[in-house]
């Protein structure tokens, strides 16, 4: 394929007479002020809220990490005590996994999916609002533990028996166990929404093999969530039952099993790694083609790899438990499956390289982050293959080598794409370009800081430094490297702050982005930046994988079809005027029926408040609070169901 660049974006959406646009505006915009804030079901607002909230948690997790590094910078230091150190590394992990990485990707997904698919909202807009409120409340729930002086302190995985009531009597781990089950609701509900949206809300003509790769990655992620998150909910709730009610699931003396807990936790825990990583690769698969000026190489191979990774991810969890003493045959199986993951990952990797190789690369900030991602992921992938090998794993398990490995894959290979995605998509969200200069500074500081922080950890691990120790003695040969790591972490933190500064600066002073600042190919670039509330005045009709590069007039067929069918009619301006959007189906993705986009409502907020009260009730063991929560949640949900037939067809 040759390089294509036909910016047809500005012509893609028709120019409307003022009064028509005003009518649409009236039909879609939320009530002003506080009532509108709590009632909004607009996927774009919810997406942005997800991202902003998640970045607040990212900031908190960063501060925790800096405290950890300050404590470890020198031997026998006393910046924080051992208990505080346990709390810090636990909450750092919990925050990064549950409250930053997962929700920030959900935020991008929420904002971008309807725009990329060419529709006016998600399949379940109210459920979308519900899942955001649950995320926010569960985050506040877990962080409220600081107010009671008892944040979780049992590691982010909370292994039994240490976390059983007898050994951890405080509320610390109740916050953890309930919080994990709590946020699981948000993740699950979000995944249901993503799956149905990707399958049923694609613009007519956008067959599965024309779907943008980011949507594929969100779809793969959502399926992993559906099949894995119930199991971590199970693990944490059974632990909470043990703690709260005195059941005996994980107590060996009464026939329970500590190993069962590890199985349950990691049955979710390993797919979770890919739940974070796969959408990040989806972002990379959007950024690299745009700035290489050519389509993604091996589209079908990359999509297949995403699906393959999601399947294989369910067969590798035991590699977190190689040191627990299991039959050799079982361990060999899981070791082989873990090695197998390298194949689909490698396929993606070579697809990205070959896209750049055959393209004409523009070195913008998003592209730099993508390249940084490639280098970091390469290292993280290689150490991943190393620790999948049993004898090697036995040598390095519970050492800093593992810390190095998972920060390369979870920080490097997830956070770098997220930052690249910020530079790439924030202009769409705010209508302002970020500063390239500041962006490049930010990238280089993050990249250098990252490697100075995490690369020496490999060496420290091989030198025998164990994980989760709050201090170490001088003269073990670890002093210099630890100091270097602590300095690196500061540089990394400053690099991320530069991006924050960039975002603030660009909000006011950034150059106007226009509809399609990057000459990109996917549908989100066919609408103005920021997009109108209704996304598309006319729902585009898609004829290829790269609608904006193929020079198609996206609304040409409208007149030919008008009046034939409700669903087809809603593709046109009539849909934007009546808050409807087509649902599509069949292998060739034809309009099937009509989705009435629900109006703003308090129901999701009320229902989420009820759920929150249930968890608070369980935490403080107050039946009254729990009862009120059940009642509130039930009222919200019943009322919601009561109106179903009015809103949905």
């Amino acid at each position: 394929m040759t390089t294509i660049a036909q910016p047809s974006a500005d012509a893609a959406q028709p120019v409307l007479p003022g009064e028509v646009e005003e009518a649409m505006e009236r039909r879609w915009r939320d009530a002003p002020g506080i009532p509108g804030f709590f009632a909004s079901v607009d996927h774009k607002k919810i997406g942005v809220r997800y991202m902003v909230t998640a970045f607040v948690f990212f900031f908190l997790a960063g501060v925790q990490a800096l405290f950890l590094r300050a404590q470890l910078a020198q031997p026998d230091a006393h910046v924080v005590g051992p208990q505080a150190y346990n709390e810090l590394f636990t909450m750092h992990g919990v925050t990064m996994i549950f409250l930053f990485n997962t929700p920030v990707l959900a935020g991008f997904g929420n904002y971008l999916l309807p725009l990329m698919l060419g529709t006016r909202d998600m399949a379940f807009p109210r459920l979308n609002a519900f899942s955001y409120w649950i995320f926010l409340f569960s985050g506040l729930f877990m962080y409220s533990s600081y107010l009671f002086g008892s944040p979780p302190d049992g590691g982010w995985f909370a292994y039994v028996p240490l976390t059983e009531k007898a050994y951890s009597p405080g509320l610390n781990l109740d916050f953890w166990a309930l919080g994990v089950a709590f946020i699981g609701i948000s993740t699950t509900v979000g995944a249901i929404n993503f799956i149905v949206t990707a399958f049923k809300m694609r613009a007519p003509g956008m067959t599965l093999n024309r779907m943008p790769m980011f949507v594929w990655s969100i779809l793969a992620m959502a399926f992993m969530v559906i099949f894995s998150v119930p199991i971590v909910t199970l693990a944490s709730m059974l632990l909470e039952f043990d703690r709260l009610f005195g059941t005996k699931f994980f107590l060996a003396a009464a026939g329970g099993s500590a190993l069962l807990y590890q199985h349950l936790f990691w049955f979710w825990g390993h797919p979770e790694v890919y739940i974070l990583f796969v959408p990040a690769t989806g972002m990379i698969s959007m950024i690299i083609p745009t700035f290489s000026r050519r389509p993604l190489a091996g589209y079908v191979w990359v999509a297949t790899s995403l699906v393959a990774i999601s399947f294989i991810s369910f067969g590798v969890w035991v590699h977190h438990m190689f040191a627990t003493g299991m039959p050799a045959l079982a361990m060999s199986f899981f070791s082989a499956a873990s090695l197998l993951i390298a194949i689909p990952s490698g396929v993606q990797f070579f697809a990205w390289i070959s896209t750049m190789w055959h393209g004409r690369v523009r070195w913008t900030t998003p592209m730099l982050f993508a390249l940084g991602f490639l280098l970091i992921f390469l290292l993280g992938g290689i150490t991943g293959v190393m620790v999948a090998v049993l004898p090697f794993d036995w040598q390095v398990t519970d050492s800093y080598f593992i810390v190095a490995h998972f920060h390369y894959v979870l920080n490097g290979a997830v956070v770098f794409p997220i930052f690249g995605a910020l530079y790439y998509w924030v202009p769409k969200i705010t209508g302002r370009l970020l500063s390239e200069r500041l962006g490049k500074w930010s990238f280089w500081m993050m990249f250098v800081g990252f490697n100075v922080t995490f690369f020496p950890m490999h060496v420290l691990g091989l030198l025998g430094m164990p994980r989760r120790v709050w201090t170490y003695s001088a003269g073990l040969g670890w002093d210099g490297l630890n100091l270097l790591i602590s300095i690196g972490s500061g540089v990394f933190a400053l690099g991320t702050l530069l991006t924050v500064a960039n975002l603030v600066w660009a909000r006011r002073r950034g150059a106007p982005a226009g509809a399609d600042p990057w000459d990109a190919d996917s549908l989100e670039w066919s609408v103005s930046s920021p997009p109108p509330h209704w996304n598309f005045t006319t729902i585009p009709s898609v004829a290829g994988r790269h609608p904006l590069w193929e020079g198609a007039a996206l609304d040409e067929h409208r007149e030919a079809l008008a009046g034939e069918d409700d669903a087809v009619e809603s593709m046109g301006g009539a849909g934007a005027l009546t808050r409807t959007t087509p649902i599509t189906g069949g292998l060739d993705t034809r309009p099937e029926r009509l989705l009435v986009v629900p109006r703003e409502t308090y129901l999701p907020f009320v229902a989420a408040l009820g759920v929150a009260a249930v968890f608070v009730g369980m935490l403080v063991d107050a039946a009254l609070v729990g009862g009120v929560g059940v009642l509130l949640g039930a009222i919200g949900i019943v009322w919601w169901g009561w109106r179903t037939e009015e809103d949905l067809v």
């Binding site: 459920l127 007519p204 099949f227 179903t644 037939e645």
Partner: protein, 205 residues
Amino acid sequence: MTALPVPVQGSTVAVVPPQGSPGRPVGWWGMLVLIATEAVLFLGLLSSYFFLRAQAREWPLGGIKPPELTRISIFTVVLLASSVPLFWGEHAIARGRMRQLRVALLLSFVLGLAFIVNQGVEYRDLTFGWRDNAYASAFYVITGLHGLHVVVGLLMNLVVQLKAWKNRLSAERHLTVKLFSLYWHFVDVVWIFVFSSLYLSAHLR
């Protein structure tokens, strides 16, 4: 349907005529995915049960007798039977027969209620509590979670009944009936697995 230009690759727009059949509403798909994730929850619980059992020297633990079968078998039939009226009711509302739907919902409700009342009675008669050992914990939590699903299903039934009485449903618009019966069938099918694992298999040596 009028003839329309054929979809083509490249620069021409693909024109997509509407599908003949309207397909299923998004709510139905959403419920299906929700059921899938719920099924995984039960799968995890039953796997945990067998994991604990596999490493135990005796089962049930602590001299507890395997659960008694006669009564629960009868009520298993009762629960499974509660799905039948819903098929009938769904069929009825699709033809706009509101009265038939009301009867069907009521019938299903009574059968479901009988099942859950029996479960309460069974709990009362059990000789062990859920703190006794891991078997007891697993028994109570698995049957309890299923019972919770039955209770939620009964509440959903009440809401749908109320809608039927208030004539908020019609042959064209009755999504809640479909969603509710899908959920209820799932609760019934899951019971087959719970029953086989906790009751039947406990008698296998």
